[in-house]
Each structure stands twice: as C-alpha cells, then as structure tokens.
C-alpha cells in the first residue's frame, strides 16, 4: 500500500514487536541504516532475530543493539571482525545464537523470500560444515545444498534518494543488501538522504520500486 513519509525515525520503527525478525541492510558502514537502528534501540523491542551481513562493529549501531541484550539470534555471513567485540563477548558467553550463512546464499535466501521461491538447490557450501544437516542433491554432477528462504517482519535499509511514492535509488556500493531485503520483509523502512517529488526519479533508474517500501525517513547524512 501507499508509502508513508515519516517525520522521524522513531515514528518509522514504533511498531516493531518483541520477537521480530529484523533485516538490517548495509555492508560495513555503506548502506547501514544507522538512524533506524538507533531508533530501534530507543523503541525497545527485544528478543529480536537480526539478519545482516555482519554482527556489529565497535560500540554503535548494531553493536549497541546487541550490547543492550535485545538480540536473541544473529543470521549473518561474517560476525567476526577486528572490532566485533560486542558480538564476540555475547557469543562466547552463550548469550546469543548465531547462524552463519555464506554471503551469496544469504542474499539468495533473502531474494527467495521476496520472490516466492519455496527453496532452492545451491552449490555453495556443499561438502562443508555449513551444509551439515541440510538436504544435499547431486544435479548435473555437482553437489547442491537445499536452502530455504529468509524473510523478515521488518527490514531497515539505507538508500540514497526516495521520491514521495517510495521509489528508491541507492549510491555506489551502498546498494548492497538494501534492494533484496526490501523485497523480503512484511514492513520495509528506508532511511534516505533526500526525498524528491514523484516523477523526479527516472523510471529506468529506480532500483527498489515503491511497491516494496512502506515507510521512508529522511535523515541527515551519516547519522
């Protein structure tokens, strides 16, 4: 339905429920919806499952959400980084669950959720620890692992520009997980740097059409 322009990030995440699965875009800081994560911390929802490429860096953003004990489980490709001490501590203390998914399989499982694909046979990870317990099938002489969709209750993404209808464009490699997460959640919230009038984005260049976007919040850059 019609995309809503929210005056503040707090309004955009006001209804996130305890126990929700939250898809969080970004790769490193590029495309990271920092203002929305901060609003989610203020909002207070807990017992969350977070799906994101990483599991937080430093002490802000996703790491701050984790540090407050709001996250029950992380589904990501790469939790361990030089500055992922918050996650590392929680994990070693047994206070957070972790599902590690190869990065491309993570993207494809999100896409499957958005694209109505029930499951898919994927060659990535066949014969490795990450395929343990999964159905495996040889197709055309190659081992494939059966992978299921990952959908979210909410997606928080960072885009560059929206029009008033909710069409989105991204900028450079900040595009990353945003477009695919936007297809994969019941409620999709985008933080953007700029909102323009409908018609000002060339229809050939729209990356995420408005149909996928529920709420848009304009925030100052890098906040």
């Amino acid at each position: 339905m019609t995309t809503r322009l929210c005056a503040h990030a707090d309004e955009a995440v006001a209804d996130v429920q305890d126990g929700a699965t939250v898809l969080v875009g970004g790769f490193g800081m590029a495309g990271m919806p920092v203002a929305l994560i901060d609003a989610l911390i203020r909002q207070g929802a807990t017992d969350l499952t977070v799906v994101s490429n990483n599991a937080g860096n430093g002490d802000t953003g996703l790491a701050a959400l984790l540090a407050k004990g709001r996250v029950r489980k992380v589904i990501c490709s790469f939790p361990r980084q030089a500055d992922s001490w918050v996650f590392d501590g929680l994990y070693r203390a047994g206070r957070i669950e972790l599902e590690v998914v190869p990065q491309g399989t993570l993207a494809e499982r999100l896409r499957a959720a958005g694209a109505g694909i029930g499951a898919f046979f994927c060659p990535t990870g066949a014969g490795t620890l990450l395929a343990e317990g999964k159905e495996v099938r040889e197709i055309d002489g190659r081992l494939h692992v059966l992978e299921y969709p990952i959908g979210g209750d909410v997606a928080l993404i960072g885009a560059h520009r929206a029009d008033r209808m909710g069409n989105l464009v991204y900028r450079k490699t900040a595009r990353n997980f945003g477009p695919v997460m936007a297809t994969a959640a019941t409620t999709v919230v985008a933080q953007v740097r700029e909102v323009v009038e409908t018609g000002e984005i060339d229809p050939e260049t729209v990356v995420t059409p408005s149909i996928f976007v529920d709420r848009v919040v304009q925030v100052a850059d890098h906040s």
Partner: protein, 227 residues
C-alpha cells in the same frame, strides 16, 4: 453501478463495464494491482486519478498509465496484452524475472483475471480448453493466479449455452489450486471462503434462484473474513 443487498435481486444482469466499475470501487486506495489481459483491463477505466491505485504489468512496469493515444504510441512501451500504453509519474521499469518475482512473492495486493471456470473452493481454470487440438498457451496466467494477495475473477456467470462457470469442480484444466478470493459476474459477486461460496451481491436474480441455477450451496450474510 448497481449495488444491492445479497438477499434481494437488484437490476441485472450487469454489462462488462458495470462489472469493471464494481471491481474498481472495491479496490482500496493505494493498492498495487495487476489487471491481466482482456476484459479485466476495463477496470482501469473506472479507477479515479485520486484512487492512488498503482497498476503493474507483468512485462516489467509499475505505475502504468492508460492506453496510448495515436500520437503517444511508443513501440517500447506496452502492457501484457501488447497494447501500447503510457507511463505515469513515479513509474518504474524492471526485467521479467524481477517482475514475476514481485508477483510470485505476494507483493501485489490484487490481481483481476478472466476465467472459464472457478470452483467452489477457488480453483481457477482460465488457460486451456482441454480440447485435443488446442495449442496450449499459458502466458502469465498461472503466475498471476498464485501470486497476488487477493485474486479477483471477472466473468459472466454462465456460458452462452447456459452452463454455470462457478462450479463444484472445474472441468477444464486448472490454472491454479484454491487461488481465487472473489468472483465478480454479471449476476452476482461471490466470496470464496473456507466455509464455501458466499454471495456478496446479486443483480436481477435472488439467491435461491442463483443457487438452483448453479447447483451449488450458497452462503449469505456478511463475510467473516472481509477481503
């Protein structure tokens, strides 16, 4: 447009433009809608500019505008029926895999389809007559049938020979199983519910006669699960 209570016959039967108007009225503000090809595309003519309804065409576009006038025709811009159309502000183009991912992923609020037959549990038959010499051609019918959040069918209730098209079991090859939510016809509007077929409105016929001609049990009264 004629609206009556479900238990009394109103004026009828409706023409296809009346049915299209009825469907247009039932589409919520701001909905994302696919109108398939053929008769359902008439619904677009009855959507007001203020409806906020966004039309999807499965050949890769959102916010499709009306059919192109002679001087607007652009061979690169057609609807799924290959009719030249126009673009509204806020449109977006995407490729076929993305377009059908959007559909199959349940992102469209409503699609409106024609039908040969609909069964009482919502099975749809609209792609193949099953005739031995027919050349099968499905297009996007099966994708549309299972993709949208709500599937509305627009059809006459009886064939020219008087055979019901709302039936207990489809005789034609199926397009999709249990996929139809509502059926708009010249004589009545029906909801397909877990409890069976429920009459929403009738036009020039009353419910007992309708039930008799269809040979189907029909529920009446307000639906328990409004569309």
């Amino acid at each position: 447009m004629t609206q009556t209570s479900p238990t009394t016959g109103g004026q009828g039967p409706l023409g296809k433009h009346d049915i299209a108007a009825l469907i247009a009225r039932d589409i919520p503000h701001g909905a994302f809608v696919n109108l398939g090809i053929g008769q359902p595309t008439l619904v677009a003519d009855h959507l007001s500019p203020g409806s906020g309804v966004v039309l999807h065409t499965e050949n890769g576009m959102l916010n499709m505008g009306p059919a192109a006038s002679a001087d607007q025709i652009d061979p690169d811009l057609t609807n799924a029926g290959k009719v030249p159309v126009t673009e509204l502000p806020g449109a977006a183009y995407f490729h076929h895999a993305d377009s059908f991912a959007m559909m199959r992923g349940g992102h469209l609020d409503i699609c409106v389809l024609g039908a040969f037959q609909v069964s009482a549990r919502g099975d749809l038959a609209n792609w193949h007559t099953g005739a031995a010499d027919a050349i099968p051609a499905v297009g996007g019918a099966m994708d549309l049938a299972i993709g949208a959040k709500k599937v509305f069918v627009m059809m006459t209730l009886f064939t020219r020979d008087g055979a019901p098209k709302l039936v207990s079991e489809c005789g034609y090859p199926l397009t999709g199983l249990a996929c139809v939510d509502r059926v708009y016809t010249d004589l009545a509007v029906f909801d397909i519910t877990p409890d069976g077929v429920r009459v929403r409105q009738t036009f020039g016929i009353d419910v007992p006669e309708l039930a008799a001609r269809l040979g189907l049990p029909l529920q009446t009264g307000a639906p328990e699960h409004p569309a």
